[in-house]
């Protein structure tokens, strides 16, 4: 296949317009733009928070004002004016108690997005905690889960109903002074999800949250806290979209996971925030701090992410492997197309004995996209017999994009084994010709090959998410037979 034709095929395959660009007409109850202690008091008051939380927010805010935005990542963007952002925007009409009370406009939005909550509730057995802008708008299945002792609710509800759990675990994995964006989130977060799975309980269904940035100029600062008590298991799905806007929207979330003895948490994300248009105008700035602590023995935390959206992605879902025999996993597909920039990866910090971690990262760069894998594997002196295996593959589509691999490997224990492998390739002309000789169009050939490249990661996603993820890469479902 000559370079020209292949270029066209790749262009066609990679230049899909953003499907989820529509805004919902809902009256928003917003704070004025800008950030100061009054705004924080306003947020806290709006949410009727206990005093410990207000104090914490103020402490975080004061610390944040002394911090500088980090510059080490391979992402470039104009300076963010933090005084031009609206830090609180809640859909009006009070807090809904059930789906019936949810604003029909919002429900329609979810339907357009392919998140028909009612349908899911009945057909798929998924409990959805949907966050539009900053406030959780509805939690399904809450009652059924409550019967098993599982607490699954919006973060605001958790603050009201389980303040002791919030106080105990919030900030225990991602301290407020961890980094610039985490500190900002800690000061101004408005809502998010909370989940507590008690001792010995296996959560019988996938828990799901849907995040969506809606109002103009709003930042979304959600906070997720997920605790799996001894012997508990839970699988959690997170989906994200944002409407098309010309200006950049800021998203700075914090996710904290805690796994106690023998507990297991699987956390899957499909991130499809608006990436900006073909010329790099608009798009979401996604600065997210996600971290899990394997506190207990034999605990396991597994991160799977498919990152196709956002103009800028700055995200390193990490595991602190404290408990002996604990396991951390990170499976990632990151796409940087047009003018997207992704700097993503993980940190695996091995503290306990016999801890194991696996990192599989697949980066796809197209157009002018820049994709960086940045990952740290640290074996602490006490981590006897720790093991890590890392594999990072990059696929380049076109000659104007970039693929970068920046691993940091630190080994301070001599009974450990750490291996890192990386490769960079493009789709070969031979592969495309082979597919075309069997009757496939060149676009289908490209999609097929890209999908094959990502397979190891897609396989880790729950089925319905895998379907969504593959759709996002504009390919038809692979392996429906096999």
């Amino acid at each position: 296949m000559n370079p020209k034709t292949q270029e066209q095929a790749i262009e066609k395959a990679t230049q899909q317009e953003y499907k989820y660009g529509f805004t919902t007409e809902i009256e928003a109850d917003s704070a004025p733009p800008g950030l100061n202690e009054d705004i924080i008091r306003f947020i806290s008051k709006k949410k009727n928070e206990p005093s410990f939380l207000l104090e914490w927010r103020l402490k975080c805010y004061r610390y944040w004002t002394k911090m500088a935005e980090p510059t080490w990542a391979s992402v470039h963007y104009p300076k963010i004016d933090y005084q031009d952002i609206i830090y609180y925007s809640a859909p009006k009409k009070g807090g809904p108690k059930s789906l019936d009370e949810v604003d029909p406009e919002i429900l329609k939005t979810f339907e357009k997005l392919g998140v028909p909550m009612q349908e899911r509730e009945i057909l798929a057995g998924v409990a959805v905690d949907a966050v539009m802008d900053s406030v959780s708008v509805g939690t399904t299945f809450k009652k059924k889960l409550a019967e098993m002792g599982i607490l699954f609710c919006s973060f605001s509800d958790a603050v009201q109903e389980h303040p002791e759990l919030v106080e105990k675990y919030m900030g225990s994995v991602v301290p407020y002074n961890d980094n610039f964006f985490a500190a900002l989130n800690s000061a101004v977060f408005t809502d998010g999800s909370f989940c507590y799975v008690p001792k010995g309980v296996r959560c019988p269904m996938e828990l799901s949250t849907y995040f969506r940035i809606n109002a103009a100029k709003t930042g979304q600062f959600e906070r997720t806290l997920l605790i799996a008590d001894e012997g508990a298991t839970v699988s959690y799905l997170e989906g994200c979209t944002a409407p098309m806007r010309d200006e950049n929207q800021l998203h700075a979330a914090v996710v904290e996971l805690v796994a106690l003895d023998n507990a297991e948490i699987k956390y899957s994300t499909v991130q499809n925030w608006y990436p900006g248009d073909k010329d790099g105008k608009g798009g979401v700035y996604n600065f997210v701090t996600k971290r899990g602590a394997c506190r207990g023995v034999n605990s396991k935390i597994s991160w799977t992410q498919v990152e196709t959206g956002s103009a800028i992605t700055w995200k390193y879902p990490s595991c602190i492997l404290q408990g002996d025999n604990s396991v951390g996993e990170f499976y990632s597909v990151a796409v940087a197309n047009n003018f997207q920039q992704a700097d993503t990866g993980t940190k695996m910090i091995h503290v306990g004995k016999n801890t194991k971690s696996t990192i599989i990262s697949k980066g796809i760069s197209a157009g002018h996209g820049q994709n960086t894998y940045r990952g740290m594997v640290r074996i602490q002196p006490a981590a006897e017999n720790a093991q890590n295996y890392t594999q990072c593959d990059s696929l380049l589509m076109g000659d104007k994009c970039g693929a970068h691999t920046v691993p940091y490997i630190e080994v301070k224990n001599n009974s450990s084994k750490v291996g890192h492998e990386a490769s960079t390739s493009k789709i070969s002309d031979d592969q495309i010709f082979y597919c075309r000789q069997r009757g496939l169009s060149s676009e289908d050939a490209v999609n097929l090959i890209v999908n094959g490249f990502c397979k190891e990661v897609f396989r880790k996603l729950p089925m319905e998410f895998a379907v969504e993820a593959q759709k996002l890469l504009n390919v038809s479902l692979e392996g429906s037979v096999g």
């Binding site: 380049l396 691999t405 001599n414």
Partner: protein
Amino acid sequence: MNSTEVKNNYLSVFSDWEKTALTKDPFWIRETREKALSYFEKSGFPSSKDEAWKYTDLDAFYKIPFALTGEGQTKAAVSAELKFLGFDTSKANLMVFVNGHLSKSLSSFEDSHGIKVRSLIESLSNGPLKRYFIEILPFENRPFVSLNYAYFTDGLFLHVPEGKQLEKPVHLVYLSDNSGKPTQSHLRNLILMEEGSRATVVEHYWGNNLNPYFTNVVTKVSLDKDASLDHTKIQQESELATHIGVLAARQKENSRLAARVFSFGGGLGRSEVETVLAEKRAEVALDGLTLSTGKQHLDIRTFVDHLSPACKSAQAFKAVADKSGTAVFDGQVLVRENAQKTDASQSNKNLELSKDAKIYSKPQLTIYADDVKCSHGSATGQLDEEAIFYFQSRGISREEARRTLVYAFAEEMVGKIQNDYVKGPVGLMVQRWMEEEIGKKS
């Protein structure tokens, strides 16, 4: 002292030092020295917040008041020692530098067939070498390089004209005197290889001094079309030494550079190798072996800049860390937009032999072209217990088994040396290291 005090010291002694030491410098060199120093004044020393120095802490270096000295004397029986190390110096152009100054009495070298093998400082005074001197490695962003620009005293000047082949390798030996005071030397080598020329150079840093000393070296290499240089650096400084060195090359079409770093000595050792593959089909092979024990901190940093299409780079670095030794590998491959058909590989393998040893590995790929073949790998582990047991079951002691296995791991890098003048001695050094270090109680 802390880093600011050391910096201020370098700034304040310059004018006195310049007056006494550098009377023969042509104007442009003095100018360059001053520029570099004023740059250093702004930059100061790197801190561990600097990405390039993330894993190498300089606190110990700041604590020692290294003095700038004039020509030094060494009491070492240089030729006997070199013989003991396995070198047959009759087969080389031998240049011995003491405290950064060429010792003519200990050296034996000559020009031949139009090939110049000379002292750099004398050549700079005579020849129009300004272009080469400043190109290739500017001092911006490089505190130790800017210090070197300001304070360098001498080094090798090698010029191989078109089509010529240097028959005897150049063996550079760098020593520091044993005067009892902490001393420092700033060395500068310049190697110019014209079209189709070939040469072999050995940079050999060596000492068993009882006082601390500091060596700061910059080697610049220019390779024209089809030229080929085989370069080996042996860093065998005393364990009280701080060694910081950079080899920077620029390669034209179809030129070949083989650069190896054997890092055995020094308390704090940092060796950087970088090359710009500036024209098509240039090739570079970078190899290295680090043996770090005691409290040594040995750091290797590489940077290969694929600027042009169809170039090839291969990097293979291995390290053994024992006792409280630390080994760092920080390697980068940059493939620029134009550099289609690039073939780049990078491999870093590490063996960690003791509980307190530390390994840091950071192999990086930065790729802006799509039709490329790039890969890297890093593996860190320990000796295979099963293999040790297998040896034991055949009657071989555990220590002997460990020594054999570590040697087998390290020997691969010795095997990559093409030139017999260097290969034998380096093999011997590795062997002796195994005998002395593996099996000794920690």
